[in-house]
Symmetry: C4
Subunit: 189 residues, 4 copies
Amino acid sequence: MEKLKERMDAFSDAVIAIIITIMVLELPIPKHDLFSEYMQFGKAVGIFFISFCFVANIWYQHSMLFNDAKTMNDHIFIREFIFLAFLSLMPIFTKIITYDTNRTTVLAYGILNIIVNGLFVRLSYAVIKQKYTDQQDIKRIFHKVYGNHNNFLGYASITILVLAYFFPKAMVVVYLAMPVISFVTTRHD
Amino acid sequence: MEKLKERMDAFSDAVIAIIITIMVLELPIPKHDLFSEYMQFGKAVGIFFISFCFVANIWYQHSMLFNDAKTMNDHIFIREFIFLAFLSLMPIFTKIITYDTNRTTVLAYGILNIIVNGLFVRLSYAVIKQKYTDQQDIKRIFHKVYGNHNNFLGYASITILVLAYFFPKAMVVVYLAMPVISFVTTRHD
Amino acid sequence: MEKLKERMDAFSDAVIAIIITIMVLELPIPKHDLFSEYMQFGKAVGIFFISFCFVANIWYQHSMLFNDAKTMNDHIFIREFIFLAFLSLMPIFTKIITYDTNRTTVLAYGILNIIVNGLFVRLSYAVIKQKYTDQQDIKRIFHKVYGNHNNFLGYASITILVLAYFFPKAMVVVYLAMPVISFVTTRHD
Amino acid sequence: MEKLKERMDAFSDAVIAIIITIMVLELPIPKHDLFSEYMQFGKAVGIFFISFCFVANIWYQHSMLFNDAKTMNDHIFIREFIFLAFLSLMPIFTKIITYDTNRTTVLAYGILNIIVNGLFVRLSYAVIKQKYTDQQDIKRIFHKVYGNHNNFLGYASITILVLAYFFPKAMVVVYLAMPVISFVTTRHD
């Protein structure tokens, strides 16, 4: 399975590269020389950057995780593709949240956020368990992939979801800011 | 031809990665905060997942097949590209079936389904025949690529096509469910 | 420059893989259950297959050409990217010829056809000249990349272009058939 | 970090390959057999070529830069992705400049131009500083990546930006011509 593992790595990287780049196709361009249209375009660019950070962050963690592994099995293959299927929904959910910011869309975005993170934790666990049996090793690898922020981000996600039900418009800012904070902090440990 | 074979592997993987990812661009987003629009978006996401499973499954079988081969010839090159040409129609046919579910579209989808599977079997045969002459070896490789489900799925495809002529709306569910079942069962043997 | 050469190979392959796959995004889907709409979709699929053959053919020749080379220089880099720039216009010109088949579009398509082939010949020459000095070797490589059909196809292109001025609608069929014939014959020598 | 560095190289190349190719999707095709529509399509193709040159140029410099490096660190990862995020805005800003050429769009394009170049210089510096400590070596690498044109292009960018405020329509031609000139001259040193 070694050759297949390398091929899956390359395939996943290609899928993530496409996800991160096609998001720019969705940006609405200003059609008239009006300040309001430029503002709307600026907002769209901002949201593009946020999605870009989110996916770049996932790609980094994903690479760290699989660099450590030498081989794979069918179990990991299925978890990997379920993870990729949900990850590829991220841009379209970000687009929806831009288009109409209300309770439903913010909750949907928050739930997708938690699902993608959850699927990645499950995938990480399957990959690490395959190689290491010692609990110390497992902890060390998890730390390399996630930094120290994992527990904090997990609790934060659920807290924000509850708050989002009551204050959707305020919480969207927090949601959107999270990948940026995670992108910068995790790397600087 | 060894270097060319590796290059064709990478090229095919890139094409399949693009096929699997551009499908998400076709999803219609909800434009108003209405329950009916969210339902329609949910249905579109469901169909996206099904297409994702189908292509992921094909990618896995395709990788298994070519990992075993060391070289290629012009014959395999032509079969590979005919296979890829039909495979890349899969997303658009899935989109059509979503848009208008009637006898014509369901039959068209069913026929494409059988064509893609048939082309892959022919491709597999060309690849395997190039390397192995012993009948036992050929059987072993076919089993690795397809699992035990090959005959069953072949018969099922034709049965469903006949039924689809009489009950198009019911059969679309069966068609769409097949890649998901195949994705999960083949890997768990 | 060896590492850069490998990187340029991978980059070109990725660009060609994207060109060959995004063409399917342009296909207009049938919106109503009418025979005329299905016919139009069938025609679009046919043109997609033709473009697919053309690009697949180019990819094969391109791979054969660069597999033989060990290194590259700035001259080859510039010719490669000029070639890729024109190649990536192929899908949109094919789309235009489908949309409105008249003298202007058929001539434009024919001229692009000749430009792409001419740029590839110039690129081949630069790559081969870099490695071989003996005229016999140069001839041998040219034969490997192009088969015996090169002269024939060159003369045919110009003849068709002249005829296309007088009979645009008839000549479009010939133009569109050429990549398919080239795809099948070159490989079977 | 060596494996991660190679993976980041492949990922960046894939992102740049997608950026360079999806620009062709944005080209508006002529819908009627009118001279004015063909002219507009010709202008769009011209702008596509210019963006193609710009990105091809960046890809070449980027490859030269990273071929020299053996490893990477978190600092380089963050700078690389910030650079890619802004680079992927290039096609959409080029599209905007085509759509409506006025003072705002030309200034926006000019500023993006300077930002992308600035981010690439910062990235280069981080990559080179990691490996070399001797000032002579750093100068040598910078020269390999940029050629002799770096200072000239830097001063030119700022001069043009000032002029663009007063003569937006004239300066757009200069802006658009710069990547083409840079593409041809840098390589011919």
